[in-house]
Each structure stands twice: as structure tokens, then as C-alpha cells.
């Protein structure tokens, strides 16, 4: 079937689908020209007799992640209801402005679509739109219930810090590579590579079969970092972000989460090549900078929302926190236990260990300790460099040194 075929019967419909595709793209869905053509074909196949079918046909093409459903749903209902979209949408949105906090997310989505549509409007409606844009603004100035601070990274610059950062950026994290089920040709491999052998044999006419070998490939397991950014950790977590950025760009399958009173996945931002861009994005995204810590709550969020998605292939987890918990360790035991059982190794990095006389006294620390496989300091460059040794050394899952801490905590 060709792309033109549906146009014969569709009249202006293909054009409208194209506009709809553009609205979705402006609203943030990855919609390319190919997708639009596919949508036109899909609609032609399903027919336009039934609104539900029409909806799901477009849905099957334009949506390819679960979290895009809301956006698509709102865009669909707004776009395909009325040609004079903007006015109708205003009337849809205005009642929501007076609604509950639960609706805030829906408002945010509607706002994104509103902006996408507004960019698409005809010029004769520009004035009208300008008048009503004030309304949109009011939808966006939602007051946050928590007192959350925006942070400026630039205030921490001294020469030593700069030097340390540079060193940190050069650090590699050679986690012990695990064998995979794949092979690659290798002269010193332990297994015969029959395919290569036979091909080589034919090259000589089949008189002799020179044995070729292959070797098991190894691969780094995924690395998950859960980093505490509460007030007590402030100095370290900022420095560590540089380290995490270096690790993220060094290898694949690194996922980074920051937590204070809530959990934020910052993996995407750390992938920006430029560290300043990455840090600026994170500062925008993370709202609980330098607040309190609710470790149990955040680990619970991680366990229920993320663990199955990021821990599935034998991940190593770095938990960076001082273990000082605002909730006094409530729920922490169960959640750490669950986390520990879902990963290959759980390594706790604690800056408080820099004090020689450190004793695991606080409730948070005592709740965490029984479930971690290793317990290490993380307060200077040296301890970070030491970390690379720990992670790359083969050995028992639980480091022998842990028994000392467990006794102290008992």
C-alpha cells in the first residue's frame, strides 16, 4: 500500500492527522513524518466510522510508552473535538484551575498541550491568544506544598575544589566484569569456534581443519547509585555529582537517583556531555536539595517504582548516605532488606566514616548496616580511588570487614 492511497478517500483528514502529529510533537512525543504516514495508513485501515476505533488506531501509532498515554489522551480530545481548538480548550481548563492538588499533573499536561497548540494557531487569533495567555500563566504558578529550595552550584568554587573535581572526572569505576553468554573469537580462548574453524578449513581445501578458538565475553553489570542530597550530606553530594557524571559518561547502564525527602531519577541529565549543563539541569529538577532525609520513604519509592526496571540484570548498588534519617529509621529495615535481595551487591558509602571514632549509634545507621555488603568512607579523593579497588576485586558478596560493623551495631 502506498502512502498516497488513503488520501483518495480521506479528503482533509490526512492533513488534519498531520497537524495532530505536529501538535503531539510540539507537546513532546517523538513523532516523525514516518509516524504520521503510518497513522494515516492506520486510520485508513480502521475506517472513521467509530470514534473509539479512530482513537485507538492513532494511539497504537503515536504512543509507544506508557507514560505518553495521558498526554495523547488530552491532546486527542482537545484536537478532535472542535476546529476552534483554543477557545474550547480554555473552557476545559478554567474549571481545573480551581480544582484540587491531585489535578495538578493533569494541568501540567494540559499546559504543555496548550503551549503546543498555541504555537500552531492561525495568525488571526494571535491577539485573542495573547489576552488569554495570562490564564495559562496562572495555571503554571502552582505553589508547592513543600518548602523546596532552588540551588546554585556556582557558589562552591575554590581552587582546591576545582582541582578535586578535575581529578574526579578522570576517575574510572572498573566494576568487576561478569561473564555473559556471548563469545568472541580469541586465540587464547578455551572453546573451539567451530564456525571459524570450518571456514578456515575450506580456505585450504578441507585437507586440514585448523582449530580456531573463542572466549566468553564479559560485561560490566549495571551500576545503580542512590545518593543522599540532604543538608547533612550537602558538601559531599555536590562533589560526588562530578564523580557520578564521569562514571555515567564512561560506561553504559549507570542509573543515578538523588534523594532527600523524595526520590529523583537524574540519569538522563547526567548524560549531558557538559558537566555544567548536566548540573544546571539537575538543579532545576531536584526540589529537595539540602532538606531533611527520609531514607525509608525514598527507598520504598525506589523499590516499588524503579527496582524492577533498573535492577533486573544483576546490578551493583551504591548507596551514598550518612544514614541520618529524619524518620528515625522507620520502615528502613524492610526496604533495605528488599533492596539488598534484588541486587548483586549493595555497597554503602558513608562520609561519617572519616571520623576514627565513628560508632554506628543512630537508628538509621543501625537499620541499614545488617543489609549492606560493604561499608566504606567517601569523604576525599583517596576514598573514591579506593572504591575502584573494592568494586573491581573478585570475592565474596559480603566483605569480611562487615562483621566488625555488625558487632558494633548489635
Amino acid at each position: 500500500m502506498t502512502a498516497q492511497a488513503p488520501g483518495d478517500s480521506g479528503g482533509r483528514l490526512p492533513e488534519n492527522i498531520m497537524h495532530f502529529g505536529r501538535v503531539l510533537r510540539a507537546a513532546g512525543l517523538p513523532v516523525g513524518p514516518g509516524t504520521v504516514l503510518e497513522a494515516i495508513r492506520a486510520v485508513a485501515a480502521v475506517g472513521i466510522g467509530n470514534r473509539t476505533d479512530f482513537y485507538w488506531a492513532l494511539h497504537a501509532v503515536f504512543v509507544n510508552r506508557r507514560d505518553q498515554r495521558e498526554l495523547f489522551d488530552q491532546a486527542f480530545h482537545i484536537f478532535w473535538r472542535n476546529p476552534r481548538i483554543l477557545e474550547r480548550m480554555m473552557s476545559l481548563m478554567l474549571p481545573q484551575l480551581q480544582s484540587d492538588a491531585d489535578e495538578q499533573q493533569a494541568d501540567d499536561i494540559a499546559t504543555r498541550i496548550a503551549q503546543a497548540l498555541a504555537a500552531d494557531q492561525n495568525k488571526d487569533q494571535v491577539e485573542e491568544k495573547a489576552a488569554e495567555e495570562l490564564e495559562f500563566d496562572s495555571a503554571m504558578t502552582w505553589s508547592q506544598s513543600e518548602v523546596l529550595r532552588q540551588k546554585d552550584f556556582e557558589k562552591m568554587t575554590t581552587e582546591e575544589v576545582d582541582a578535586a573535581r578535575l581529578a574526579m572526572r578522570r576517575l574510572k569505576l572498573p566494576i568487576l566484569a561478569m561473564p555473559t553468554r556471548r563469545y568472541r573469537p580469541d586465540k587464547s580462548g578455551a572453546r573451539a569456534d567451530m564456525r571459524a574453524s570450518l571456514r578456515a578449513a575450506l580456505r585450504t581445501g578441507g585437507d586440514i581443519i585448523p582449530l580456531k578458538f573463542r572466549k566468553r565475553q564479559t560485561r560490566n553489570p549495571p551500576l545503580i547509585v542512590l545518593c543522599d542530597i540532604s543538608g547533612s550530606m550537602e558538601r559531599y553530594s555536590r562533589m560526588l555529582l562530578h564523580f557520578l557524571h564521569a562514571v555515567t559518561s564512561d560506561r553504559d547502564r549507570v542509573h543515578t537517583f538523588l534523594f532527600g525527602t523524595r526520590l529523583t531519577n537524574v540519569t538522563r541529565y547526567l548524560r549531558y556531555k557538559d558537566i555544567d549543563v548536566a548540573l544546571a539541569k539537575i538543579a532545576d529538577e531536584v526540589e529537595d536539595w539540602s532538606g531533611g532525609t527520609r531514607i525509608g520513604h525514598c527507598l520504598h519509592t525506589f523499590n516499588s517504582d524503579w527496582s524492577r526496571r533498573v535492577l533486573s540484570q544483576g546490578a551493583v548498588v551504591l548507596l551514598i548516605t550518612d544514614g541520618l534519617d529524619r524518620d528515625a529509621g522507620a520502615g528502613l529495615r524492610i526496604e533495605t532488606d528488599r533492596l539488598h535481595r534484588s541486587c548483586r551487591r549493595l555497597i554503602w558509602l558513608n562520609p561519617l566514616l572519616r571520623y576514627d571514632g565513628f560508632e554506628p549509634k543512630s537508628q538509621g545507621i543501625r537499620a541499614l548496616l545488617p543489609y549492606v555488603d560493604d561499608f566504606r568512607p567517601v569523604h576525599n579523593l583517596e576514598s573514591l580511588m579506593h572504591l575502584t579497588d573494592i568494586l573491581s576485586a573478585p570475592g565474596l558478596r559480603r566483605h569480611p570487614g562487615m562483621s566488625k560493623w555488625l558487632e558494633a551495631a548489635a
Partner: protein, 307 residues
Amino acid sequence: MTKPIPDSVDAALALLSSGAYVADRSLATALFLSLKLGRPLFLEGEAGVGKTEIARVLSQTLDRDLIRLQCYEGLDVSSAVYEWNYAQQMVEIRMSEALGDQDRDTLERGIFSDRFLIRRPLLQALEPSANGPPVLLIDELDRTDEPFEAFLLEVLADFQITIPEIGTITAKEPPLVVITSNRTREIHDAIKRRCFYYWVDYPDAARELEILAVKAPDVPAALSAQVVAFIQKLRQEDLFKLPGVAETIDWAHALTQLDCMALDPDTINNTLGTLLKYQDDIAKIRGSEASRLLSEVQTELAIAGAA
């Protein structure tokens, strides 16, 4: 004679229900599009909501072969696509040597020919079959790794596979491809872009009752209603793994085996293991929480019955 594929959404819906699969119209739409336009159907959803079942029903109702590729980490070409039969190849070389009648080119063509090719699921799916193009089920794609995903791109886009020694094998008629994922990681957009996407959700109460009526017809209606209402309540709870439709059906069967006519707290506590698969979850629900949910269910059903 191959059965024709459905020619409308209604026909697709009828096809699914003829295979004892209770589906939403939305799923039928995605399925119809995938059959009609010859693109894979990408099904994502929690475990136990009936993703794999769709492929099975499709192969049954359309009378096609079902070829299943179970994905796992490190899945490679030799176990997913093809492998050479090395032992036989070596015998062949030895034979031709003994006869001494073949030159090198002939031998090479002979060795790397169809005869010595062991076909794995993906290659099988591209071959013509008496029953028409088969249903290819690529199950739990999220378990494999990115390199294999990248390999799948060629297969899914053009339904062709390149074997260096032979050349490119193209399917005369593309297979009906169903891909499932539990979303333990995100599948790359490049794959999804070539498919029709559908998120298989937990069914609502009415739909779940229908499913139970089809899948477990010997369960008394009153018990079914209670089971479904209880599970719908359970899915509102903060659990690590919510029970899927598969668990609902298992539980209903289990209760029937126990000659249970109506839910009571003891029975629930004793059979909770068929519903919840994590000890934490069981500990959370067992006892007072189960009783509370049950009394809520009983009240709601009583009100509905009175109305």
C-alpha cells in the same frame, strides 16, 4: 488453505473472543492494525495480564503455527536465528576428501548449504509454511540486551535475515509478530517505532468477571463476583507485586477445588499464596487487612444486590 485475517476491528474482536480471550475494543484495534498492515504488535504490561496468551489465541484461531522465542540475557544469533551443523559438515569434508572428486568451490558451496543449516525460531518464522505465515511470539524482549534488540531491527523492518555464507533470506509472506515486554527496562524507540504499541492494563471489574466466566466456567457466579471484587480492592493496595488476571483465575480455581462457596477470612488467609508472590505482601494483607477488604467487598456486593 489459510484462514483469512480479520478485515475489520469487529472481526478482530470476534476472532479473539472465539479463542476464549476477552479483550477490550482498544486491543482489538491494535491487533487489527498489526494484522492488516503487517507490522509487529508490541504488548507491554505487568506480568500476568495475558500478553503471551494473545499470541497463542491468534495462532489457534487463525490455524497458524506458533513459533516462540523466549528471550534471555545474552541471547545470540546461534540460538535465536540459525546455527551450522558442524559435525555433519566435518563428515562431509571427510567424505569428499575420501572421494577426492570435488574442487574447493563446490565443496564450499556444499558445506554451507541449506542441508547443514539448523533453523532457530527467527529463521523458521520466515520460511513458508503449509498453514500460511506463522505467528512469531518474541516473549519478554526486555530480558535480552541491546545488541540483540539491534539485530531484531533488520528482522522486524524487512522480515529478512542475512546469513553471510548464503545470502539474504526474505520472507515471502511476513509472519504475524507479537512482541511482549514486562518493562523491566525500556525497549529502544527504534524497535517500538516499527510496531503498533499497546499497553495491556489490569481489566476493570466487569471485564474481569467476563474473563472469569470464560476461563473458569465451573466457578459459582456468587464466588466469582466476590473474587473479582476482592482482587480489584487488592490492586488498590500498596503492594510490591499486584495480582494479575492469571492470579485471579488460579485463585478462583483453587477456591473451587476447596469447595468454597463464598469467601471467608480463613480461606483467604490460607490461599493468599496463589495471589501474592512476595512474603512482605502476604504478611501485609494476611489477617486483619484481609478481613477488612472482605467486609468492604461483602457490603458493596450486598448494596449492589439490593439495588
